[in-house]
């Protein structure tokens, strides 16, 4: 079909049929404001309810104003985005939204990063002309996410993420008119819902309605306590995004500065979750090879494909939605939860510190990690293996509060022994990375031959579902990859239907993997930022002298000194876990009441 020509603010625009005025305007540098519209690059992630009415524009020949986000361009259309009428309407709409919004920007967690605040500034709102009823809801605090619905503007971006993209279905718009709000079923606490704490709702919320639970003060207290040895671990995706909080270009690697900052904050030992990622590959990879060997020997009961289990949101997702398939994922704990018991046992013994005097803090790109470290099975007599999990955003806040000039810091190295890692561990931070790391190790352990090249570019990319066949010395290893829980669901339904032909599948809950995690600096819908973070991760991998987990000298030493071998009794005790059926079916269980 031919392109459509139209005029927007006296500029000639040519777009494909079906393009909205909003998107057409963006191609010629006309940035029509919007609050509800959201799109993540060319990913199939779009929110277009046409609800906020902030994007109204004037279209020649049309009586009423047109919402630019849901009005398609037509041939010869003449659009004016900043006539007096459009501006007045936009300001009125915005003021009406603000009239039902607590104006507590000074103390709001989202201040400086809030789309509503930014728009009020952009539109020069200096006075609120409307006073009316204000919505009040009880604040809902879960282990990871805080819902403060007084600040909800009903853009429904969170609902789109939770239902369409993640297919979790924890949130829905409820009630009608002024009473409408986004909430879990029966307005129950998020904690009791099917929420996975992936945090993608927080990542797209334009206001302070959805924020993370803040543990920075607890960490500051632990750091100030002389009786505590405070150990920190940092996830791979953090180093590729933290710089953005300090004005650096997306994709700037700040590994060395991050280590230096953590040391200046007062952490006694600055370690790397990447070390535990290498450990994960040893355990998960061995588990996979065991299953594969049995399968090739003709064992019909063996569970294949094996599914990765590093992502706590993904784990909670299958516990709720696929409890009949809990024997398929690897039993290996996530790197965060492998690091905890290694620090509080192996390392604590090494340095002669008791468990109760050691505090383990993790820096994660993730909000589900907060929930994960609070799970009961990851505690010993009530003492958690990982005490606090901070998001990338919280770490930035902590650094700023401590008067550290981040950009002026020198590059420093992690401490040993739990700070040494390989390139395989670094790529855990992006979709496709965990399985690539596993393949690097599995290949060499399976064939006893050196890998011709460590890079498996066929596993990389940002397609929601990817697959690749890898030649392992004549054996065709079939790999599946999904990121975003909606994509994961598709692969799981194939497995349930007996249609899956994969040997191993990697799943990450967030679009892009951990680089796009719910705890990362906000991307505001710019997919380019995720792409740059991903490139940074692969750059760090390529620059590492060792790129295969089983070659990490400190991992080799850990097994020699302490664990024995992968899947040993000690490994099972410290590094593997069990899953719980969290499907809600109170009725199905209790439906034996007598009929009258």
């Amino acid at each position: 079909m031919n392109n459509i020509k139209l005029t927007i603010d006296d500029k000639t625009v040519e777009v494909a049929p079906g393009t909205s005025i909003l998107n057409a305007a963006r191609t010629v540098g006309v940035d029509i404001p919007t609050l509800c519209y959201f799109k993540l690059g060319d990913m199939p992630i779009e929110n277009r309810p046409g609800g906020c009415r902030v994007c109204v524009v004037e279209v020649e020949g049309r009586k009423n104003l047109a919402p630019a986000c849901v009005t398609e361009c037509t041939e010869g259309m003449v659009v004016k985005t900043h006539t007096i009428r459009a501006l007045n309407a936009r300001k009125t709409v915005l003021e009406l939204i603000l009239s039902d919004h607590p104006t507590d920007c000074l103390v709001c967690a989202k201040s400086g990063n809030c789309d509503l605040q930014a728009l009020a500034q952009k539109m020069g709102i200096r006075q609120l002309h409307y006073t009316g009823a204000q919505s009040h809801y009880r604040k809902d605090t879960s282990p990871s996410i805080i819902r403060d619905m007084d600040k909800c503007i009903m853009c429904r971006r969170c609902e789109m993420m939770c239902n369409t993209v993640q297919t979790v279905g924890a949130l829905s718009g409820i009630n009608r008119g002024f009473m409408s709000v986004v909430a879990p079923a029966f307005e129950m606490d998020l904690e009791h819902s099917v929420c996975t704490y992936c945090g993608q709702c927080v990542a797209v919320c334009p206001t302070g309605a959805l924020t993370e639970v803040d543990h920075t003060n607890a960490v500051i207290r632990a750091l100030a306590d002389p009786s505590k040895t405070v150990v920190v671990q940092t996830a791979p995706a953090v180093r590729a995004a933290l710089g953005e909080e300090f004005g650096l270009e997306p994709g700037t690697l700040v590994t060395g500065k991050m280590v230096a900052a953590l040391r200046r904050l007062g952490f006694n030992y600055v370690f790397d979750t990447d070390f535990a990622a290498d450990l994960t590959i040893m355990e998960e990879g061995t588990e996979f090879l065991n299953r594969l060997t049995k399968f090739l020997e003709g064992d019909k009961d063996v569970k294949l494909p094996i599914l990765t289990s590093c992502c706590p949101a993904w784990v909670k997702f299958f516990e709720h939605q696929f409890p009949d398939m809990m024997d398929i994922p690897s039993t290996a704990k996530s790197p965060q939860q492998m690091f905890g018991p290694i620090a509080k046992n192996y390392f604590a013994e090494k340095i002669g510190v008791s468990r109760k005097n050691m505090v383990v803090v993790s820096i994660m790109p993730c909000l589900a990690k907060k929930y994960e470290c609070s799970r009961d099975e990851f505690k010993v007599d009530g003492n958690p293996d990982v005490d606090y999990s901070l998001s990338t955003r919280e770490l930035a806040m902590l650094i700023k509060q401590s008067n550290i000039d981040f950009n002026a810091l020198p590059d420093e190295d992690f401490d040993n022994p739990l700070g040494e890692s390989t390139g395989a561990a670094v790529i855990f931070g992006t979709t496709g990375g965990v399985i690539e790391a596993a393949v690097r190790t599995a290949y060499e352990l399976y064939t006893n031959k050196p890998l011709p090249r460590p890079d498996f570019v066929e596993l990389r990319g940002l397609e929601g579902i990817r697959s690749a066949t890898i030649d392992v010395d004549g054996f065709d290893l079939k790999i599946g990859i999904a990121h975003g829980l909606g994509n994961a669901r598709k692969l799981l339904e194939d497995i349930r239907a007996g249609k899956s032909h994969f040997h191993a599948i990697e799943i990450m809950a967030c679009p892009g993997g951990c680089i796009g995690g719910g705890g990362q600096p906000l991307h505001h819908g710019k997919l380019d930022i995720l792409k740059k973070r991903q490139m940074a991760i692969y750059r760090e991998d390529a620059a590492k002298p060792i790129r295969k987990s089983h070659e990490n000298p400190f991992i080799i030493e850990l097994y020699k000194e302490y664990l024995g071998k992968p899947l040993s009794e000690k490994s099972h005790h410290l590094l593997h876990t069990v899953y719980f059926d969290r499907s809600r079916s109170p009725i199905l269980i209790k439906s034996n009441g007598k009929c009258e």
Partner: protein, 159 residues
């Protein structure tokens, strides 16, 4: 929101399953399914919504969203004889509010409530399509037209 904890009986879940199946377990038929389920149970408690969610393989939050959006749906049990007073435009201007006040006073309940003996419950609705008979009151399926506050006593006396 607090709701009454109930236990669905086998025959009730069978009936719900049958209702869902009669619409091919199609989530697109949710409103019709809820309509029938409410007709059967008198109301839509959380347990019924959860059961339907399982049958239709859709999030219960979405079902709750629909139930709370339409004023026709209710999560509170209705009385044996549900009374609906039309407060649509035509009925309203012909004095529906006075009729409603009289029903509230006689039964000593508010809109959305049920009498302690479970006999009557009271709700408002918007237009039953009988504006010529305004103001209109429904008790169960029976429609009463041109109701005056004085006539409320006689209507209630029928039950």
């Amino acid at each position: 929101m607090s709701h009454i904890k109930i236990e669905l009986k086998q025959c009730e879940t069978d009936k719900l399953r049958e209702i869902c199946q009669s619409f091919n377990n199609n989530p697109g038929e949710l409103i019709n399914i809820l309509h029938k389920a409410q007709h059967t149970f008198g109301y839509l408690p959380a347990e019924v919504q959860e059961f339907i969610a399982d049958e239709l393989k859709m999030p219960v939050a979405k079902i709750y969203g629909v139930v709370t959006f339409y004023s026709f749906f209710t999560m509170l049990p209705k009385g044996k004889h549900p009374i609906s007073v039309c407060t649509g435009t035509a009925c309203y201007v012909r004095g529906a509010e006075k009729v409603l006040d009289e029903v509230k006073r006689s039964l000593n309940i508010n809109v959305g409530e049920t009498t302690p003996d479970g006999k009557f419950s009271l709700s408002c609705l918007r237009c039953v399509g009988a504006c010529g008979l305004a103001p209109v009151v429904m008790v169960g399926e029976k429609v009463y037209g041109r109701v005056s506050p004085d006539g409320v006593k006689d209507i209630l006396g029928e039950y």
